[in-house]
C-alpha cells in the first residue's frame, strides 16, 4: 500500500518530469566530480570527441580534423557552447532531450488510447530508468535522436505531416538508421484500396500498377518532399562547407563499416576471420539479407501501427547488424514504452524476458572482458555468446509479437 502510494505520488505529472530532470542533473554534477578526482572517468570518450570537434569549429576548421568524429557537423555546431560557455553544456542538452523523449512518450501513449495514469507509469519506465539516465549524463548524443524519432511518430499520430516529415528528415541526417522507417511510413500514408470482401483478389496486370499507384497521393508526396528537402538541404550545406570528408565520415563509413573488433554482433567473428579473403564481399552481402528480409516483412505486416513497426524495425536492424554496440540498444529501447501497454504479457513474464536480455549480454561480456583486459584467447566463446544473444533477442521479439494487441484489435475485442 505504501509502495503504491509512493509510486502514485512519484508519477504525478507535476512530480515525474521535474524529478527525472533533477536526477539527471545530479548525475552530471557527480560525473564532473568523478572526472576530476578518480582514475576511472564518468564521461564517455564520445563526449570528448564531440567537444574536440566543436573546438575545431570555433577555430574555423573542420570538425573532421578530430579523428573518430563520425557524426554530422550539426552536432559539433550545436555543442560550440561547450567551448564558449561551459564544457557541460552538451550534457545539459542531452538530458533535456532525454526528459523531452519521456514527455513525447507520455503524449504518444495518451493519443494511442492508453489511459493517462497508465501512460504516466509507462513513461516513468523511461524517465526513471538508470540506463538512459546514465547514457545522457555521460555525454552520449543518443537522446537527441530518440527525441527526433518520437517527435516524428507523435506528429504522424496527430496528422501534422509537414512537421513529421521535417523531423524525420532531420533524424535521418543525424543518423542513418531511421531511413528504414521510410517503408512503413510510406505504407501507412498510401491510399487504402477498396477491400474485395470474401472473394480472393485475382492478380491481373492491374494489381501491381494499382499497388504502385496507391503510393502516389498528396500526403505521401508532401511527406517525401519535405523530408527529402530537409535532408538534401542539410547535406548540400555541409558538403559545401566540409567537402567529401563530411559525406564519408557521416554516412559512407557507417554503411561500409567493417569493424572487426569484438562486438555484440553475431557476424563479428565471421567477418574478422574473412576480412581479407575473397569471400569477404559475398559474406557481407549474405549477412545483409536477413536484415533486409525482416525489415520488408515487418513493414508489410504491421504498418498500420507505426510505433510498433518502428520498434520492430529498429530491434531487428540492431540485432542482425554487422556491428552492434550497447549504444545501439537505446535506439529501440526508446520505442519500447510505446509497445508495452499493448502487450498481454504478465509482469512476471515481462520481467523474465528483461532478465533474459540482461543474461544474454552478461554471457557475452564475460569472455569479452577476458579477451580485452586479461589477454585470454576467448574468440570462440565470444562467437558462441554472440549467436546466443541473437537467439535470445529473436525469442524476446517473437514473444512481443505474439502478445501484441493493437488498439484496433482491442477495440474490436471490446465490441464483440
Amino acid at each position: 500500500m505504501m509502495m503504491e502510494r509512493l509510486l502514485s505520488a512519484l508519477t504525478e505529472k507535476r512530480v515525474l518530469f521535474p524529478v527525472s530532470f533533477v536526477v539527471r542533473l545530479a548525475l552530471v554534477v557527480y560525473g564532473d566530480y568523478q572526472d576530476r578526482n578518480m582514475v576511472v572517468k564518468y564521461t564517455d570518450i564520445d563526449y570528448h570527441v564531440f567537444t574536440d570537434a566543436a573546438r575545431f569549429i570555433t577555430e574555423g576548421q573542420s570538425p573532421y580534423n578530430r579523428s573518430t568524429y563520425r557524426y554530422t557537423p550539426l552536432l559539433a555546431w550545436l555543442l560550440t557552447p561547450n567551448i564558449y560557455l561551459t564544457v557541460v553544456f552538451g550534457k545539459l542538452l542531452f538530458i533535456v532531450c532525454d526528459v523531452l523523449s519521456g514527455l513525447l512518450i507520455y503524449k504518444l501513449l495518451c493519443l494511442r488510447g492508453v489511459g493517462c495514469q497508465t501512460a504516466r507509469y509507462v513513461s516513468s519506465l523511461w524517465l526513471l530508468n538508470p540506463l538512459p539516465m546514465g547514457v545522457s549524463s555521460r555525454g552520449n548524443a543518443e537522446s537527441i535522436l530518440s527525441a527526433l524519432v518520437l517527435g516524428t511518430l507523435l506528429c504522424m499520430e496527430v496528422r501534422r505531416l509537414a512537421w513529421a516529415a521535417a523531423l524525420y528528415g532531420l533524424s535521418v541526417h543525424m543518423k542513418i538508421y531511421p531511413v528504414t522507417y521510410a517503408l512503413p511510413i510510406a505504407l501507412s500514408l498510401r491510399s487504402s484500396h477498396t477491400e474485395t470482401n470474401g472473394t480472393t483478389q485475382s492478380w491481373t496486370w492491374r494489381t501491381p500498377v494499382a499497388f504502385v499507384g496507391s503510393f502516389l497521393n498528396s500526403k505521401l508526396i508532401l511527406f517525401a518532399s519535405v523530408a527529402g528537402g530537409v535532408f538534401f538541404t542539410l547535406t548540400a550545406l555541409f558538403y559545401y562547407m566540409y567537402g567529401w570528408v563530411f559525406l564519408h565520415e557521416t554516412y559512407f563509413y557507417h554503411l561500409t563499416r567493417r569493424d572487426i573488433r569484438h562486438n555484440f554482433s553475431p557476424y563479428f567473428y565471421m567477418l574478422y576471420l574473412t576480412a581479407d579473403s575473397r569471400w569477404s564481399q559475398s559474406l557481407g552481402l549474405a549477412a545483409f539479407l536477413p536484415q533486409l528480409i525482416l525489415l520488408l516483412v515487418s513493414s508489410w505486416t504491421f504498418h498500420p501501427d507505426l510505433a510498433f513497426t518502428c520498434f520492430l524495425h529498429t530491434a531487428v536492424f540492431v540485432s542482425f547488424n554487422k556491428v552492434c554496440t550497447s549504444q545501439y540498444f537505446l535506439w529501440y529501447l526508446s520505442l519500447l514504452p510505446l509497445v508495452i501497454p499493448h502487450l498481454t504479457l504478465s509482469v512476471k513474464q515481462g520481467l523474465g524476458l528483461l532478465l533474459l536480455w540482461f543474461a544474454g549480454q552478461a554471457v557475452w561480456l564475460a569472455p569479452a572482458y577476458f579477451l580485452e583486459f586479461e589477454g585470454y584467447n576467448t574468440f570462440f566463446l565470444i562467437w558462441l555468446a554472440g549467436l546466443f544473444f541473437l537467439v535470445i533477442n529473436s525469442f524476446i521479439l517473437v514473444q512481443i509479437i505474439a502478445h501484441y494487441r493493437s488498439r484496433k484489435s482491442l477495440e474490436r475485442q471490446k465490441a464483440e
Binding site: H48, D52, S67, T68, D259, I260, R261, P266, Y267, Y269, M270, Y272, L273, T274, A275, D276, S277, W279, L283, A286, A287, P290, I293, L294, V297, S298, W300, T301, F302, H303, P304, D305, L312, V316, F320, L371, E372, F373, E374, G375, Y376, N377, T378, F379, F380, W383, L387, L390, V391, S394, L397, V398, I401, A402, Y404, S406, K408, S409
Partner: protein, 229 residues
C-alpha cells in the same frame, strides 16, 4: 640557467662520468598495457640537463594521442608523435611509428624520472597455423640528454650526437647526446596478443549463417502469423 663551476673546462665533462640508467617494464594484461620507464641520471647531473626518451613502436600496438594529451597534465611529461595515429586499423594495415617523450625536469632531482605510457594492442590477421597468440616485441627506448652549455662535438665516446626536436611543440631542432647502453633490462620487452583461429573459418561461417537464417525464418513466420489485418 648557467652551469655552476666548470666554466672553462669541457662543458660536456659531466657526461663522461655520468652513468644514467634506464629500466623499462610492461604492466597490465590483455590489449591495454602500460610501459613504465624509469630513468636514473645520477647525483652528479647538472641542474639544466634535459632528457628525451625516443620510443620506436611496432605496428602491432598504438598509443592514443588524445588519451596522452589528457594525461600529460597529470603525469608531467609531453609526447610528440612523428605521424598521425589511426586508432582502429588492424596491425597489417598500419606501420611503425616513433614518439618523443619530454619529461618535465631532468636535473639533479633525488627521485628517478618515471614515465608511464599507456599502449593498446591492435587486432591482427587471424592465424592459420593453430597459434592462438601473436608475439609483439617492443624495442627499448633511447635516452637522449641535452644541456645548454654543452656543444657536443668532441670526445663524447661512447655516446653519439643526434638531432631531435627541442620540445614537444616541435618548433626547433637541437643537438642531443644519445647515451650508449643505459639499459638495465636484460631482455627486450615482449607481449602476446590473442588472434583469431583462421582454420575454423568454415565452421564459424557456416554456424553463423545457419543460426542467423533460422532466427530470420522464425521471426518472419511469427510476423506473418500475427500480422495486423
Amino acid at each position: 640557467m648557467h652551469m655552476k663551476g666548470n666554466g672553462d673546462q669541457e662543458p660536456c665533462f659531466f657526461l663522461k662520468g655520468l652513468q644514467p640508467s634506464l629500466y623499462v617494464e610492461l604492466s597490465h594484461k590483455g590489449f591495454h598495457r602500460e610501459v613504465v620507464t624509469t630513468v636514473e641520471l645520477g647525483s652528479e647531473t647538472p641542474a639544466d640537463v634535459r632528457a628525451l626518451l625516443v620510443y620506436r613502436w611496432p605496428r602491432d600496438v598504438y598509443v592514443d594521442p588524445y588519451q596522452v594529451a589528457s594525461l600529460s597534465h597529470q603525469r608531467g611529461w609531453q609526447m610528440l608523435f612523428n605521424t598521425a595515429i589511426d586508432l582502429e586499423e588492424p596491425a597489417h594495415r598500419t606501420s611503425e611509428f616513433s614518439t618523443y617523450v619530454f619529461p618535465s625536469h631532468a636535473g639533479p632531482t633525488p627521485n628517478p624520472l618515471k614515465v608511464t605510457i599507456p599502449i593498446h594492442g591492435r587486432y591482427h590477421k587471424p592465424s592459420f597455423d593453430g597459434k592462438t597468440f601473436t608475439p609483439v616485441h617492443i624495442e627499448l627506448p633511447e635516452l637522449l640528454l641535452w644541456t645548454k652549455k654543452c656543444t657536443p662535438f668532441q670526445r663524447l665516446e661512447p655516446h653519439t650526437v643526434l638531432d631531435a626536436p627541442c620540445t614537444a611543440s616541435n618548433t626547433s631542432i637541437c643537438s642531443w647526446v644519445k647515451i650508449q647502453n643505459p639499459n638495465k633490462n636484460s631482455v627486450p620487452m615482449s607481449l602476446h596478443l590473442p588472434v583469431g583461429d583462421g582454420s575454423t573459418v568454415r565452421l564459424i561461417s557456416t554456424g553463423t549463417l545457419v543460426v542467423t537464417l533460422i532466427c530470420c525464418v522464425v521471426l518472419c513466420h511469427s510476423m506473418l502469423k500475427h500480422q495486423l489485418r
